[in-house]
């Protein structure tokens, strides 16, 4: 091997260096966010123990003495995420199946564009619809105290994650080779049998990833839940109770707290919790991906 240090020209080394610097700065930003969240979040442990934070139901950060029980907020986050996922994931997968397997090509193009537009919808617009359209409707129809509740926020979140789930599922269904469908038909399978016995299992891994990405989006979404979930820091007992997910608590309270106070650290700690949850979901996605490659 020749001595590369002498033979390499600047025109070859320069692009490499530039790309390396750009890539590293991306990683650096990520590391910095993690560091900052940890640094600002951990000090809350001086004022409250982990068990008090995780198992305490009472979130009264400005009373004296302040109570930092996050269980109701974590429960709120889990409740909206779960409800919206239950609403949107089956619908998204069914929509993807319809688009790839049933609907004629010309019409499916129109549907796909509509889905994309739905994905671009600003969340504040959705939240607004939740406040002025869905909330009054729920309030009158179901005779509730307030229409801003878990169900309202979950329906809106469902609309938000539907395009993610449907588009990604559609891609993985589309990736099932035509030759496998042909093999199934040639054995006397009907369209429906082929769809459920060959196409769906073949795309299962991609659909699982699509679902997890949808869950992650629902978990991290802020504006919709801030506007439509009702904002009460209570563990919901029914789908029509108001909730206060972690994200909306951070968004609503961060502006009103003094930097460096226990409340401030508690809010950062909640951000840290959110990051841990989405990070572990991300690891799950990578796990599913790599399980497919080893074979």
């Amino acid at each position: 091997m020749p001595n590369r240090g002498e033979t390499l020209k600047l025109s070859e080394t320069a692009p490499r260096a530039v790309i390396t610097v750009i890539a590293m700065s991306g990683i650096l930003v990520m590391a910095f966010i993690l560091y900052f969240l940890t640094k600002e979040g951990i000090p809350i442990l001086k004022d409250a123990s982990i068990t008090q934070l995780a198992a305490g139901r009472l979130w009264y950060p400005v009373s004296s003495p302040p109570l930092f029980g996050m269980m109701s907020l974590i429960g709120g986050s889990l409740a909206v995420t779960l409800t919206s996922s239950v609403l949107a994931i089956p619908l998204g997968v069914a929509l993807a199946l319809f688009l790839t397997e049933i609907c004629p090509k010309r019409i499916s193009g129109f549907f796909k564009i509509t889905l994309e537009i739905l994905g671009f919808l600003p969340s504040v617009v959705l939240g607004f619809i939740g406040m002025v359209v869905i909330a009054p409707y729920l309030q009158i129809k179901l005779e509730l105290l307030s229409g801003l509740n878990l169900m309202n926020a979950s329906m809106l979140l469902g609309v938000m994650i539907l395009p993610t789930v449907a588009t990604l599922s559609e891609e993985s269904l589309h990736a099932v080779p035509q030759s496998q469908r042909d093999a199934s038909y040639a054995l006397g399978a009907t369209r429906c049998e082929t769809m459920f016995n060959v196409v769906l299992p073949g795309a299962a891994r991609g659909i699982a990833q699509a679902a997890i990405l949808g869950v992650m989006r629902a978990m991290g979404e802020t504006m919709v839940v801030l506007m439509a979930s009702g904002g009460a820091a209570l563990l919901p007992e029914s789908a029509f109770d108001p909730v206060r997910p972690l994200t909306s608590a951070i968004a609503a309270e961060m502006g009103e707290t003094s930097v460096g106070s226990a409340h401030y650290h508690a809010l950062f700690f909640m951000g840290f919790i959110l990051l841990l949850i989405t990070l572990s979901l991300n690891v799950l996605v990578i796990k599913i991906e790599s399980r497919g490659e080893v074979k």
């Binding site: 080779p177 030759s179 496998q180 042909d182 093999a183 199934s184 038909y185 040639a186 054995l187 006397g188 399978a189 009907t190 049998e193 016995n197 060959v198 299992p201 073949g202 074979k295």
Partner: protein, 254 residues
């Protein structure tokens, strides 16, 4: 002369209205428990014709077929025919091995399960018999739960044959089954095809004339959508009647 399993009467096919015919008035009889080869240059319509025999062309948009295909004397294009029933009687093996992303066992059991077979014991028997008959049993008997994709290309193609014969079809259509395989794997498939004709009526499409000469009892030569000539393989390859057949088999074109 033995019984004709399939009789095709003046079959024409076009891929869209007004377009030139992809198949022109093809008429042909295929004997039961024999092996017939379709040969011809690419684009001559031999694969299209094969796919007419189990109605796989039904999926192609705009395709129009006229004429009759009689299976045991009954037209498979008659309006009252159940296409899924037909495809169980007329199985198919494709150009490239296309196993499902399941285990070896599940691939073979797919067809019987569609037919409603749920009994584990009987499914096991079917899997073993089909794999034995496709010559794959000895190689895979200890790893039936392994993914089908872990097999070599030639093994995958034999697995596809096992999958096709697991539903005990009467006719087996093979669409250039060795075009993606190496010579050793090809030889095994050819040997298998000769074996299978004892139980099934086998039709094999090939662009390889030597293959047709090696394995088939009868040969049909297609050119530009036309069935130029058909007859016993030895006759087609030694004393063809048509000048075009002679030109093709002597390698003047193709």
């Amino acid at each position: 002369m033995s019984k004709e399993k399939l009789v095709i009467e003046s079959l024409s096919l076009t891929y869209s209205k007004g377009a030139p015919l992809a198949l022109k008035e093809v008429a042909l009889g295929i004997e039961e428990n024999s092996l017939m080869a379709f040969i011809g240059p690419s684009g001559c319509g031999k694969s299209t014709f094969l796919r007419c025999l189990n109605r796989m062309n039904d999926f192609v948009r705009g395709v129009e077929i006229t004429g009759r295909v009689l299976l045991d004397g009954r037209d498979i294009y008659a309006p009252d025919v159940d296409v899924t029933q037909l495809r169980r009687r007329v199985g198919m093996v494709f150009q490239r091995p296309n196993p499902f992303p399941f285990s070896i066992r599940e691939n073979v059991a797919y067809g019987p399960k569609l037919l409603g077979e749920r009994d584990k014991g009987r499914l096991g028997e079917i899997v073993e018999r089909s794999l034995r008959n496709s010559g794959l049993w000895e190689e895979v008997k200890d790893r039936l739960n392994a993914q089908a994709s872990s097999l070599s290309g030639g093994q995958q193609q034999r697995l596809c044959i096992a999958r096709a014969i697991a539903v005990e079809p009467e006719v087996l259509l093979m669409d250039e089954p060795t075009s993606a395989l190496d010579p050793m794997a090809t030889a095994r498939i050819e040997e298998l095809a000769r074996e299978l004709k004892k139980y099934y009526t086998v039709v094999i499409v090939t662009h390889n004339m030597q293959q047709a000469a090696r394995v088939s009892d009868h040969t049909a030569f297609f050119l530009m959508g036309e069935l130029v000539e058909h007859g016993p393989t030895t006759k087609i390859f030694t004393t063809p009647r048509d000048k075009r057949t002679e030109d093709y088999i002597t390698g003047r074109f193709g």
